[in-house]
């Protein structure tokens, strides 16, 4: 059974983050079972890296090149990779590909793309850490490709992972490689930081800013409820961290 420690979740509630994303399409699909979700995330990252010209097939060559000395740079018409599998190795290779692209001074890597590359590096590192905590129940999916997963019958009760990891993975899957056009972080101390994508200061963005502002308002209003949820279900340890209800 997965461990049940919500300390991280409670700690993360010390700040509130409101992100606004403009999407070209919206579907109502929920997150698929974990192994598929991991491959979705890896696939999104791989697609973005290919789009900006990272020679991803070179990173996924066998044997695995030493990332410390290997940097093929950007190429025209970069090929894609079709053999992504559920393993640490996949996310390690994607991480290094993004890291090397970040060091490249090509004009193809715009400031907006740099933010996405940073996200890939950070999230791949986070997923690699999660793999260390995955129990034996997930071994059945390790090194499996999409085709192999599709051929399997995945029962949702056949594996378990920590709640904190699930919440993080859900966020990674939800956001993918979408650009966050406006982000506001509210700290429990009262500090507020807002970041806005360049180009949004022009006229015509007022409606989007109004939506973002309302999103912040509702986030702050619901903050208390979220603390309440965690306090109720997590027990005394968390109560000590976030205080007792009055």
């Amino acid at each position: 059974m997965a461990s049940f420690d919500l300390t991280e979740t409670a700690r993360s509630l010390l700040t509130m983050e409101a992100n606004t994303i403009v999407r070209e399409n919206m579907t109502g699909e929920p997150m698929p079972p974990l192994p598929h979700a991991l491959l979705d995330i890896a696939g999104d990252y791989a697609n973005l890296l290919c789009t900006i010209g990272v020679d991803l097939p070179a990173y996924f060559a066998t044997p695995y090149p030493d990332p410390g000395t290997f940097d093929p740079g950007l190429v025209d018409n970069a090929g894609s990779v079709s053999n992504l599998t559920v393993c640490v190795d996949t996310f390690d290779r994607l991480r290094w590909a993004a890291k090397h692209a970040l060091g490249n001074r090509s004009p193809r890597i715009t400031p907006a793309k740099r933010v996405l590359l940073d996200r890939i590096v950070n999230n791949c590192d986070a997923i690699k850490e999660m793999f260390k905590g995955f129990g034996p129940s997930l071994d059945q999916f390790k090194d499996k490709s999409r085709a192999e997963l599709v051929a399997m019958t995945i029962h949702r009760n056949s594996y378990a992972i920590p709640v904190d990891d699930l919440i993080q993975l859900q966020k990674m899957w939800d956001i993918g490689t979408e650009v966050i056009v406006a982000q506001t972080i509210v700290h429990i101390t009262g500090d507020v930081t807002t970041r806005v994508q360049s180009g949004l200061g022009q006229s015509g963005s007022e409606a989007l800013f109004a939506i973002h502002r309302q999103s912040i308002d509702v986030s702050v209003a619901c903050w208390r409820y979220l603390l309440d949820v965690i306090r109720e279900i997590a027990g005394t340890t968390i109560q000590a961290l976030i205080g007792r209800p009055r």
């Binding site: 109004a210 509702v218 619901c222 409820y225 279900i233």
Partner: protein, 187 residues
């Protein structure tokens, strides 16, 4: 929290979130099984606004670009206002559930006390002090009143266990997926 305050919370949840306690309970369970509140708003057949309020304390709002670009500003802001009102309402289910559990516990304790104490006084008046203990031990009303009073706090404990189980096992765990869950992964 006093029972009067709890009734106030319940009434507020009832007024702001149509659907009453059933909806409040369903919203609270959804927070735990999905670890987020998801509210989608459509303009016609298309989802144009979607907000996820995660347990981690972050809120993600997705806006459909072609709707944003092709709709008058007033209409966008009006729909957005209603959308975020729904997000707030969805979260109000949680305090309502807590208030329900607290009120339920207090009501059980009160019922147990009335049943047990009333019967005990009646027994005492009937048999006096001399054989009171043996008479009380044989009186089902008194015993059941005590049992209800003892079991009432266990109700809160049981609800907490259920909530923990929901949180731990929801989404990927042993709870059976609902209708339409588990879609095929993206190609």
């Amino acid at each position: 929290m006093s029972p009067i305050a709890d009734v106030g919370i319940l009434l507020a949840a009832w007024r702001s979130a149509p659907g009453g306690w059933r909806r409040a309970w369903r919203d609270a369970a959804a927070i735990l099984t999905r670890r987020q509140v998801l509210v989608e708003t459509k303009d016609g057949p298309t989802i144009v606004l979607r907000t996820r309020l995660r347990l981690h304390g972050d809120v993600q709002t997705d806006v459909l670009r072609r709707w944003l670009d092709g709709t008058p500003r007033e209409a966008v802001e009006g729909l957005a206002r209603r959308h975020f009102q729904s997000v707030g309402d969805a979260m109000r289910g949680w305090p309502a559930v807590r208030a329900m559990v607290r009120l339920g516990t207090q009501l059980l304790v009160a019922l147990g006390a009335v049943a047990g104490l009333g019967s005990a006084i009646e027994t005492w008046l009937r048999v006096g002090w001399s054989s009171l203990l043996s008479a009380l031990l044989a009186d089902w009303w008194t015993l059941s009143g005590i049992a209800v009073m003892v079991l009432a706090p266990a109700l809160r404990w049981a609800v907490r266990l259920w909530l923990r189980r929901k949180l731990r096992n929801g989404l990927f765990g042993v709870d059976p997926p609902g209708a339409g869950a588990g879609p095929p992964a993206r190609p």
